[in-house]
């Protein structure tokens, strides 16, 4: 399926893929679904194994065709010689000018880049969104937060997941990032819910360091 996406995309972009400016990338990034569709990526087991070997813990099984197309576009941009700061600048333009769906694709692929660490402020900021699918694109099935977030931001992300009834099991690397402050926050949250006569998330123990 990946090769199909790649072929469709190459045909859509034509031979003059990249001139000096970032404009062709921005247009292609925004219009990717028009060329490859929005269906599930439906990877074969062999493709999935290959991708997982290259990028463990990235939730490719949830990706759509346009997610893959957008990741391939950024790969093509890197392969055109834009690496390091140049790649960071170009990729960030895709993110900052993107709608919610484009931002979702962008965040799903964020761990793939050698420049990934440079995107930390943007990733932290993305967690402030009220658009839950955008939040999930980073917080769930994504190794980036556990690998790069400082404790304070990681803790806020876990609390926000609980707050939005997102299963904590979806947060990659949570067991390795448990800490006393997160346990305190989770306990306060349980107390607040109880005082309000509300239910406590059934998986709250996953956020508690000393009860595992």
């Amino acid at each position: 399926m990946l090769t199909v996406v790649e072929r469709v995309l190459a045909a859509a972009l034509g031979p003059k893929r990249w001139d000096g400016s970032n404009a062709p990338l921005l247009v292609a990034y925004a219009t990717a679904p028009q060329h490859v569709g929005r269906e599930a990526l439906a990877l074969s087991p062999a493709e999935l194994d290959e991708l997982r070997a290259a990028a463990p813990d990235v939730g490719f099984e949830r990706w759509t065709r346009d997610d893959a197309a957008r990741a391939l576009l950024l790969i093509a941009r890197r392969n055109s010689g834009r690496t390091g700061d140049g790649f960071v600048t170009d990729a960030l333009e895709c993110f900052e000018q993107g709608d919610a769906r484009e931002q979702q694709s962008w965040l799903r692929a964020i761990a793939l880049w050698p420049e990934a660490k440079a995107f930390l402020p943007n990733a932290i900021d993305a967690c402030r969104t009220n658009i839950i699918p955008v939040f999930e694109a980073l917080a769930c099935e994504n190794p980036y937060p556990a690998a790069h977030f400082p404790d304070r931001n990681f803790n806020q992300m876990v609390l926000k997941a609980m707050f939005n009834s997102i299963a904590l099991a979806r947060i990659v690397g949570l067991p390795g990032r448990l800490n006393a402050e997160l346990s305190r926050m989770a306990r306060d949250y349980a107390a607040e819910r109880t005082a309000a006569g509300r239910t406590v998330p059934p998986d709250i123990n996953l956020a508690l360091k000393d009860e595992r």
Binding site: R128, K160, G197
Partner: protein, 290 residues
Amino acid sequence: MKIFDPHIHMTSRSTDDYEAMARAGILAIVEPAFWLGQPRTHVGSFVDYFNSLLGWERFRASQFGIRHFCTIGLNPKEANNPKLSNEVLEMLPRFLAKDGVVAVGEIGFDDQTDEEEACLFRQIELAAQFKLPILIHTPHRDKKRGTIRTIDVVRRAGFPEERVLIDHNNEETLPIVLATKCWAGHTIYPNTKMDEQRMAALVKKYGTDRIIVNSAADWGISDPLKVPKTIAVMREQGIADADIQKIVWDNPVAFFAQSGRLDVSDLDQRPAIDRTQKFETNSVLRGDQR
């Protein structure tokens, strides 16, 4: 019963809402500056927003017989981009000086970052400079800690607590706020924050001093009639009308009157509605109605 909703984001609401609010007895409202659901990226977006709170929205409210005041400030959700937040803080003074601005707000914590704390501190200093009260937003997440931290910052700034309204309280934070001299706001929401029954229980437990309720209706699931609906539940629960009146009128009026910009002499009279009035050539009427 005279009703003052001291926290409602009318920019996101319809004319049907204004009509229903007036019918339910709401005479005056405060619209705090907040965020719009997704982050703004340019200082000019804030300038236009603040101007619309002071201009078009105040006019729109008047067309339904409701007095509209606002608070101006940089909300904590948008305080984490240092370049933008500095630009916003620098242009705040010219808005804080205007009539109709009855507090600095909503300010406070969201993710409880250092950047948020710096913006909160600077805005408390601005409130002192402009002799305005402040409206504090407490965070949705890690609320108890955020409330304690907020009070610490207020005290460190040396700001008088009686000019601070700490909003969105719940069972856990209310006793903390009442142990200070700050006022305690409660947001009655359909699903989150506080509901009518819990609010009535808090009033029975803690009394009416410094207690305020609001709808905080905005662009999310919320209800601009939550203050009148809370009045109904408090009555059902046997709370005396005089006590209810204190919560939904006397307290918010006394708090915001500290700005010196709330004319209390005729606040309880519904202003006459004249829909032939225009705001910068715009009217709330359409086509044939004019």
